[in-house]
Amino acid sequence: MKKNIKIALAQIRSKRENKKANLQKIEEFTLKAKNQGANLVIFPELSLTGYVLHDQVYELAEEIPGPSIKRVEDLAKRTGMLIVFGMPELSEKTKATIFNTAVIVGPNGLIGKYRKRYLPTHSVFEEKRYFRQGYQTAVFKTSIGNLGLLICYDIFFPEICRLTRLKGAELIVCISASPAVRRRYFEILTAARALENTAFLAYVNLAGVEDGLHFWGGSRLVGPTGDLLVKAKYDEEDLVVCEIDYTDMRSAEIFVPMLRDLRPELFEELKKNSEKL
């Protein structure tokens, strides 16, 4: 596996309902990331279409593989990069069942996808109205190590990150469309999830305003001790690149051995009690 892994966090402002413009931006930021030596570039949740879509999501969702995936596959092939981005995915088996999906594409094509498991439907969020929840945990073996994928609200539930870690994820990638009123929560949770799993965590958020929702940016890479390694600007578009070394996970795991000390019997108890809530 490759040493000296460079991760690029591409904190873009999507142009809502304009896949063509957003694919152009994905290309532009991927090229910039490549110029800075990055191996992986990560874009935010629903970055292909923008986040506030309401009923328009039915017009914008695409199957995977589909035309937009093809464009990103071509880009990955041309640049030799790994690319993660978010899009509304139309189920190939139905006519109008949609998932909020993170996709990972590499120089050899589509590597995999993750369908968001926790769909926020409260406050300003109405995701359950439009999306079906996912059921699979996603960890993919890539040229830069094992990558786990999750999306935004998933990070509030420690079991998602924990599962990716138990399945071997070294870098947990969380793509997001988080409005500014939630900034504090994400700043706490990104550090906590990296620390409690002694893994690297890349968090990439949207920037800009969509229908009054102000996305706060602040994308970051957190190390296995919860340390902030790099942070993008608040509120604005930004691209930051950071080098990581998985050997750091070893000393972190020895210092506070949370994975060694896991108690599986508690999960059974958790299950029983959450069913009774």
């Binding site: 309902e17 506030v52 309401h54 009923d55 328009q56 305003v209 102000h214």
Partner: protein, 284 residues
């Protein structure tokens, strides 16, 4: 267990730098996406419109903001006009003054059932007439209308339906009145103007706090508690009010939802405007 919120003035404190930044960003992005040439707003000389004018000018530049000063003879107040001009000068926005008295008199004369004594119905004609002037300027100058309603008034329904609340965007609508005052001072509005008693100016000597029957400092805390699902009993206990008084405020808040929404329509078809026809408000 749910811990009770403590309704002290500190709960209304905000990170004013952050609030200013977000409001400016909101205005700027909306104007850019709308592809218009700026903002028109009513400039009464009161705190809400002064703050809206100031923050709009800071967001998109004063030269792109037009403040309309729209006095009429019954509520004419030279101090308000002076304050409106002071804000315009300080934040570099353009103003135009239009005396709406002749138009109002036209309405009074031509509405067969017009009643001079019914000051509320008459006052609402003034607010709606100002709306017509603002939208005329917006159409003619390719601008959007920026409203200045705050959260206290909006929750209480203390505004004229399709009148002063009519706008394309309302950047201050998620801030209580006392928070608007703090933001005003933060962005450079003279404290004296920020502390000025509020009036909708629908008739002479009308004062918001007198009509609402409570000071904004207390009202805002009550509304803050209601917003966070506190019961009237909990609020009354903490704030030393009668429970019935808090219930009245809650009842008023809930009974005026019709003023804050599109008109209700019966559900007849596949997707219905205002209910399940859900589209982004702004096309990019």
């Amino acid at each position: 267990m749910w811990t009770l919120l403590k309704l002290t003035p500190s709960v209304l404190e905000l990170d004013l730098f952050e609030v200013e930044k977000r409001i400016k960003c909101f205005i700027k992005e909306y104007v850019e996406n709308a592809g218009v040439e700026g903002i028109v707003l009513g400039l009464s000389g009161g705190i809400d419109s002064a703050t809206t004018a100031a923050v709009s000018s800071l967001a998109i530049g004063g030269k792109n903001v037009t403040g309309l000063i729209l006095p009429e003879k019954e509520t004419y107040n030279s101090k308000d006009i002076e304050d409106a001009k002071l804000i315009a000068e300080k934040f570099g926005l353009k103003t135009q003054m239009c005396d709406i008295t002749p138009v109002l008199e036209g309405f009074y004369k031509t509405i067969p059932i017009f009643d001079q004594v019914d000051k509320l119905s008459k006052g609402n004609v003034k607010a709606r007439t100002r709306m017509i002037y603002l939208y005329y300027y917006a159409n003619k100058r390719k601008k959007i209308v920026c409203g200045s309603s705050d959260k206290s008034e909006t929750m209480m329904g203390y505004f004229t339906k399709w009148g002063d609340v009519a706008a394309d965007i309302s950047p201050l609508m998620d801030l209580y009145k006392t928070q608007v005052r703090k933001l005003a001072v933060h962005i450079g509005i003279p404290p004296k103007l920020a502390a000025k008693p509020s009036t909708p100016s629908l008739w002479p000597n009308q004062l918001a706090e007198t009509e609402l029957g409570i000071k904004y400092e207390a009202l805002d805390l009550i509304l803050y508690g209601l917003e966070r699902f506190m019961t009237p009993e909990e609020i009354a206990q903490q704030m030393n009010f009668e429970k019935t008084f808090i219930e009245k405020i809650k009842s008023r808040w809930l009974s005026v939802e019709h003023k804050r929404r599109l008109p209700l329509t019966p559900k007849l078809e596949y997707r219905t405007v205002g209910t399940d026809f859900r589209l982004p408000r702004q096309k990019y």
